[in-house]
Each structure stands twice: as C-alpha cells, then as structure tokens.
C-alpha cells in the first residue's frame, strides 16, 4: 500500500471518528424533531454526512495512483515550535521575549541560517512589534515581564 493511500485512509478514518463523535454528542444534547429542533439536530445531520463522506473518500482513495509530496517535517516542526514558544512566553515573559523566541525557532526551519542573521532579525522583529503593536495600536499585553 503506497504512502498516499495510507495517508488518505488515515484522514478518512479520523474524519469518520469526528462524525461518529458528533452523532454521539448530538444524542446527548437532544435531537428533538423538525418542528422543534434541539441543540443536537443540526450536528447529528452533519455527523451523518461526515460518516458517509469519509466512507466514500476512503473507497476512492484505494484507487489513487498519485504520489504524495514529501512533507517538510523540519519546517513544520520548527514553525509550530516557534508558535508554541510564543504562546508559552507571552504572558510569562512579555511580548518582546515571545517574539524573539518565535523568530529564532522559526528561522531554524531553514537549514543554514547564520546565528548573526537570526539574532539581528529577532531583534528587528521585537522592535517592529513594539512600534506597531505596543505604541501605534496599544494592545493590552506587557512588552517585558519578569517570569519570577
């Protein structure tokens, strides 16, 4: 079985699980009737549609001959790590530290970036963020905060 078919079947399986979860959750919320729709009426229809579509996509995937493009795991990993570090640092250490971490980690996604360039861009990014979001727009988040 090719990588593509395996990936397609995995997606179809996950969406089928989502559809089944929606149906289960809708029953707990209460479905009601067409005249008196309860909170679960619309979601149960969507869950049913998703189950049917997942099955159809799975069947159609079995005949797929297209190759899947090789995913850029390094790129994806460092970009997501950058966003995660931003979220973790923002309210603990302030916006400027969060921006520096985001820039540094996301630059690691591209091999060969020089440390001097990374530090320069991280500093520039922090400065631009302060000017635009801190001074010009005035968003409600501290620029620098002690994590202790």
């Amino acid at each position: 079985m090719s990588h593509r078919i395996r990936a397609e079947l995995t997606i179809a399986f996950l969406t089928a699980i989502a559809g089944a979860w929606f149906i289960h959750g809708s029953i707990e919320l209460g479905i009601g009737s067409a005249l008196r729709m309860e909170a679960g009426f619309f979601p149960v229809c969507l869950g049913g549609m998703m189950l049917v579509l997942s099955g159809a996509v799975a069947l159609s995937a079995l005949t797929s001959t297209k190759e899947i493009e090789r995913p850029d795991l390094r790129g994806a990993g460092f970009v997501l790590a950058g966003l995660a570090s931003f979220a973790l640092a923002l309210e603990r250490a302030g916006l400027l530290v969060a921006v520096v971490l985001l820039v540094l980690l996301s630059m690691l996604a591209l091999p060969g970036n020089r440390p001097t360039r990374m530090i320069a861009l991280a500093t520039g990014g922090a400065l631009i963020s302060w000017l635009i979001f801190g001074l010009a727009i005035g968003i409600q988040v501290p620029m620098i905060r002690s994590p202790f």
């Binding site: 997606i11 970009v79 820039v103």
Partner: protein, 502 residues
C-alpha cells in the same frame, strides 16, 4: 436620482479624514502583502482584521476592503516580475506578464496592469451602484427558506471551484460546518462539543482558522523553496509607458475584461480568479495580436488584470445585499462585518447607509490611491521582492501570532492557529482545499438558524424548501451544479485513463 443622492452621501463618509487615512493604509498594506508571493488577499485581510477592531465600523470595512483590492493588485507585481503570483487571481497575468519582463518590457507590463486594474475597479464600482440596491430590494422578499437555499448554493459553488476531488470538497464543507457548530447553542445555551474548554464557549475564532489554514500552512509549504526564489532586476520609471500599438491592444482587452470581472465577481463561488481566467481565455480567441498570447501579448496582461479588479469590487454584492459570501475572502469580510455588530443583508442599505454607500464611494477613492501610489512606488515593491523569503517568513509568523492573540487576548487562539496551520499543511499535501472549509465555518451558524426558522414556520414540514418557488429554483440550480461537476470530473477521469498507455 435616489442612488445619486445616496452615493453623494457615501462620498461624505469616504472623504472624512479618518476614512481617507485608513483607506490609504489599507490599500498600501494590501498591496505590500499582495506583492509577497503566496500570501493572498485572504491572508492579508486575516492579518489586518485585528487592527480593524479598534476602529469605527465604516472605517474598519473601508480599510479591509482597501486591503482586499490592494492585495489583488499587488499580486500582479510578483506575477509579472518573478512568475510567482502573489494572489491566485494573478496567476494568469504571469503567462504574458513575465514573458514581457523577460523581453525587457517589465515597465509597460506593470503600467498596463496598473491602468487595467484601475479601470476594472471603476467598472466594478459602477455595477455595484446600479445593481446592489436593486438586488437588496429583491432580497427583502427573502425569508429563512430562501436564505437557507442560497447558502446551500454558495457552499456547493465553493466546492465547484475547488481544484481537487468533489468528495474532498464536500468533506471540507462539512468539516467547516461542524467547526461552526462548536460553542454555545444560541437557542438553548447548551455547550456543544467544547470538550470542557471555556475558551471554546464563544466558538472557534474565525481569524485563528483563516490565519492558520491560509497563513501558517503557506509559510510551512514555502520554507522549503525559500532559497530558490529568482532575482529581480530594477525597473526604470521612464520605461514604463506602453507604445501606441500596445495601447490599441490594451483598450479593448481592458473593457472586455472588466465586463467579465463585474459579472463573475458577483456570482457566489466564482470571484476574481475565475473572472481573470475566463477573461484571458476569451481575449485569446478574439482578434489578431502582434504577438501571440503566452509569448508577451500586452492584452494578456490587460484583460485578466481588469477582470480581477472588477471582480474584487462586485464580489461585495452578495455579502452586502444577501448576507451570503461568494468566496472565502468575502466570508472573512462577512465575519468582520458581524464582529463590528453589522448585519449584512438587504437591510444593510436602509439600516446602515453610511457603511454601505461609504464603502462603495471608498472604492473610487481607493482605486485612485492605488494608481497614484504605485507609479512612484514600483521600485520599492521591486526591492521588497529582492528581500530573501528567509527573512520575511519569521516576521509574517510574528504578525500572525500577535494578530490572533490580540483579538480575544487568548493564548488558546495562538494554539488554534498552530493546529490549523498543521491541518492546512496536511490538507495541501493530500489535495484538500481549505476555502470550502472556511465557507462552511462562516455559513454554518447562519444555515442552522435559517433551517430552524424555516421548519418552525412550516410546522416541521421539510417540503417547504421545494414548495417555495424561489427556494425550489435555487436548490434545483444547486443540484444541477452538483450533477454537472460530477459528470465533468467523471469525463476528465475517463479521458485520463484512456490516454494512459497499457
């Protein structure tokens, strides 16, 4: 006469200093972001939407609209100079635009794109002035049954224009509808599928989905090719003017392109990209050219550029008059309108004429700003394209992260952006289109509400959707589109398999 009076009062709104300033900012930032390859008008609007929350509704919408058509124009610059469209609708401009640039005629190509975009924008605005009030009046007769049918048509149209398989398109629409359900049920106040997370009580943030699916996933996909971007030569201002022969070919192409753009821009599910492709295809068949299309025909730049900017204006007709977006970008605009407490739909012209007519008047102002701005700024855009993408993408991520956080001061939303970014990237690899998901997400709550009302009014009888004549026609059209799409894809598959050697 009444329309003229309304338009005049619209100019009173558009020419207010604060609105002029934000229109200028919107157009400038939209062009700047549109110039960057791969970041289209949708990502541009999503990134700047948080800024608009601090503004008055009319000012906010004028700015976001400026971002939208500014980005559509900016996309053509990278298209011509680098053969890397900044927006999908600029892809067809690259065919002849980049060929002209390689022949040393980048200046006339860029100038033609500017003039054609301006003309297209003006035409689109005139169509809006004439048709939007009429359509809004017609739509006042619409009830929940008709609205449900139109939304179903809009979702099917979104699937129709997606490139991949129909099944995957419908799956994305359904996923979008499911994501739209998450949150508090407005009728019973019950929490639906929030998995105990308080942050999900108000639903998933539209900006988080849009920025994740279109911004973060684009960054991840582009990183691998970041080092391979071609270099751009500077453009001399003096060399920008086309010659007389060029002008003879440009004018008719511009007029025809604007006609197609105005029509297709207003149809749900089509928009600037389809308008540009159709305008190019028709122009290719019409008349003789000094240079054939694909080899540097100046009309090959004029027609799609006029079409895509005209479509960018008339794309506002369905969301403003019917409350139904025709494309993913308009879905985000609709979301922005609702976040500002505006109810898009036929009542908007009567309830908020300042926003409606102020927006239309701002199209003229904004398009003039585009024209005046871009002649002297052309070399700045060229220099921007010379900045390595390796330096740009971390800053794009910074804007996305801060932008999404600033909406609800929620770190959960930053996590959502990352999650949707990963989902969007996986979807790209497996040929799932994100636009139908976004349309489903925005329309889902509205569809549920209209379905509920329609069934209450008909005492639970679902036959109301076919007994109501307008709804029956719209649903019939929806079914026809599905059948036509299925047949077309089936025929495409059969011809591919018959061409494959045994």
């Amino acid at each position: 006469m009444e329309t003229l009076t309304s338009l005049t009062s619209g100019f009173d709104v558009a020419l207010m200093p604060v609105n002029l300033l934000y229109c200028f900012l919107g157009v400038l930032l939209g062009t700047l972001i549109g110039v960057l390859p791969g970041i289209g008008s949708l990502a541009a609007i999503s990134m700047l939407m948080p800024v608009s929350f601090y503004l008055e509704p009319a000012t906010a919408i004028i700015m976001l609209a400026g971002v939208y058509y500014g980005a559509e124009y900016g996309g053509s610059i990278a298209s011509i100079l680098l053969n890397l469209p900044g927006t999908p609708s600029a892809a067809v401009t690259a065919l002849d635009g980049n060929a002209l640039a390689k022949q040393g005629r980048a200046g006339p190509a860029l100038f033609t794109a500017m003039i054609s975009s301006f003309w297209g924008g003006l035409m689109g605005m005139m169509v809006m002035v004439v048709f939007a009030p009429w359509l809004a009046e017609f739509a006042l007769a619409f009830g929940p049954t008709e609205y449900f049918a139109i939304m179903a048509l809009g979702l099917v149209a979104a699937v129709a224009i997606s490139q991949g398989s129909l099944l995957k398109g419908f799956m994305m629409v359904t996923l979008g509808l499911m994501l739209g359900v998450i949150g508090t049920d407005p009728n019973t106040a019950q929490q639906r599928f929030t998995v105990g997370q308080l942050d999900l009580a108000d639903g998933i943030s539209l900006v988080a989905i849009a920025m994740g699916l279109f911004g973060v996933s684009e960054v991840i996909a582009s990183i691998a090719s970041a080092r391979d971007r071609p270099r751009v030569a500077p453009v001399k201002l003096g060399d920008m003017l086309p010659d007389r022969t060029d002008l003879r070919e440009i004018w008719p192409a511009m007029l025809r392109g604007a006609g197609f753009g105005s029509f297709f821009g207003a149809l749900p599910g089509t928009g600037a990209t389809i308008a540009a492709f159709i305008a190019y295809a028709v122009e290719k068949r019409v008349g003789r050219r000094r240079i054939p299309f694909g080899k540097g025909a100046i009309a090959g730049v004029a027609a799609p550029e006029s079409a895509n900017n005209s479509a960018a204006q008339t794309a506002f007709i369905p969301p403003l008059t019917l409350g139904v977006p025709g494309s993913a970008s308009m879905a985000v605009m609709l979301g922005a309108l609702m976040i500002h407490g505006l109810l898009p739909g036929p009542r908007m012209i009567t309830d908020r004429p300042d926003v409606f007519w102020g927006l239309i008047a701002s199209f003229i102002v904004g398009n003039m700003m585009l024209l005046v701005l871009n002649i002297p700024l052309i070399n700045i855009w060229v220099r921007l394209l010379r900045v390595p993408y390796a330096l740009l993408y971390p800053l794009i991520l910074v804007f996305i992260a801060i932008g999404v956080y600033s909406i609800r001061n929620s770190l959960f939303d930053v996590g959502l952006v990352a999650g949707f970014g990963l989902l969007g990237y996986a979807m790209r690899l497996l040929d799932y289109e994100p636009a139908p998901l976004l349309m489903g997400f925005v329309l889902g709550p509205l569809m549920e509400e209209n379905l509920r009302r329609a069934l209450v009014m008909s005492r639970g009888d679902a036959a109301v959707f076919v007994e109501n004549p307008i709804s029956a026609v719209i649903l019939g059209l929806t079914v026809l589109i599905v059948l036509a799409m299925s047949l077309s894809r089936l025929r495409g598959r059969r011809s591919t398999s018959s061409e494959t050697p045994s």
